[in-house]
Amino acid sequence: MSAHAYVRKVRSGESGLWKSAQPALTRLDIELTERCNNDCLHCAVNLPAGDIEARGSEWRAERWKALLTDAAGLGCLVVRLTGGEPLLRADFEEIYLHARRLGLRVMLFTNATLITPRLARLLKDVPPLEAVEVSVYGLTKESCEAVTRVSGSFAACRRGLGLLGENGVAFTVKGAVLPPTSREADALEAWAAGLPGHAGRPAFAMLFDLRSRRDEAAKKNKAIAGLRQGGDEFVSFARRHGEGAVDEWREFCGRSAGARGDRLFNCLPMGSSAAVDPYGRLQYCLGLRHPGTVYDLAAGSLREAVTKFLPRLRKTRAADPAYLERCGRCFLKGLCEQCPAKSWAEHGTLDTPVEYFCGIAHAQAVAAGLLDWGEKAWTVRDGSERAKRRKGS
């Protein structure tokens, strides 16, 4: 190879590709289906795999392919294909190949149970260019199927992971801290590190979202809320490998967190990303399904949605007095997961404080030495300075 760098390489997630303006859309999240062949205890999305009404309403491959073509035309580089379980769709390969032939990188989120030798071979020959993210909810048949609530899912997942490994397809395992699996985290990390093809370290879900469709709210949300870890447990889990996570929280608070007043949409930079549900409704993100915040792509265009609709939506201001009194003045904004999508799932609004996430963020701040126990972050006037001082000390 030449010693002169004639060609500049840009890895996934690296910035610096764009010298001037970045494209109108850099990433598109597509929820191909809400249906799933698992029935996980904590899932905020899933419908039964055989749900006929949902299946009949899902966009067909031709519409997804047209949308992907539009996305590429807007400069999009990455598409996330998720669900539900996206591999439930018989036309998955057709959609995947279309995305890759457009020059899109594909982030595939799956439970791996439906990976076939043919699909693993396809992912080898036409790689997604992003590690496949695989939900693995348990190291044993007992713990896994206590979460997925589907007999045979443990063996099917292991078979799928084996096929990925045999074909050299890069993947990353994601776990969840749930009652059946809470003692398995360290063992799961060690196991994942030894898997052929595994990339990075497993991530663990702990702060489970309530149902984003607000369906079955009373029944399922009560169950999901009962699975959530409290602030102390969350901090203890984050500290299991030392103080690295706590140091990161403190550093983040000094650098990026801070009161945002009545500005509601803070989490994504302008023009970066959008999501589409299985029925062609564009959303700000996968979780935000408030009817006032979605755009029907069947009645418009992706270009209009990302260049006009989303910028207008981002200007939405909070009006809830409790939000303005607390979240609007809180220096933990950004560290805290409070956002319109969480407010929607919890309360059916865009701007109601979510006590659960508030409690988690306060526990993080106490652990990081930024708050005294019982102190409320929105009453602290020098929060960011505290974080900067602590960082330097």
Partner: protein, 101 residues
């Protein structure tokens, strides 16, 4: 892929990559495996590389491309030819271009 770049040969973008132009940047996205040093790499060019790439379309031999660039750039012929061959050698070894005769 091995083999030396030959000025008398004609080269074209490979079917193993997808070439995109986004916000004025040429971005080469691998379609098949083994293009990048690691699987998640994409590629782009500086201004010089972009000028060369735009001419590698399979329509004319490389010596004609070099002559066109000499007409456009105020550069010594030997230096420019060496730069073009260096760039194409890297593209060829990465399977981003193919020799079509």
């Amino acid at each position: 892929m091995t083999g030396k770049i030959d000025l008398s040969r004609t080269y074209a973008p490979s079917d193993d990559v997808v070439v995109r132009e986004i916000e004025g940047e040429i971005v080469i996205v691998p379609l098949t495996s083994g293009i990048g040093d690691v699987e998640d790499e994409c590629f782009t060019f500086d201004e010089w590389g972009r000028a060369v790439w735009s001419k590698i379309d399979g329509s004319r031999p490389l010596e004609t491309v070099v002559q066109e660039l000499l007409d456009e750039y105020d550069a010594p012929a030997g230096l420019l030819k060496g730069e073009v061959v260096g760039l194409l050698q890297e593209l060829y070894e990465r399977r981003m271009i193919v020799d079509i005769g």
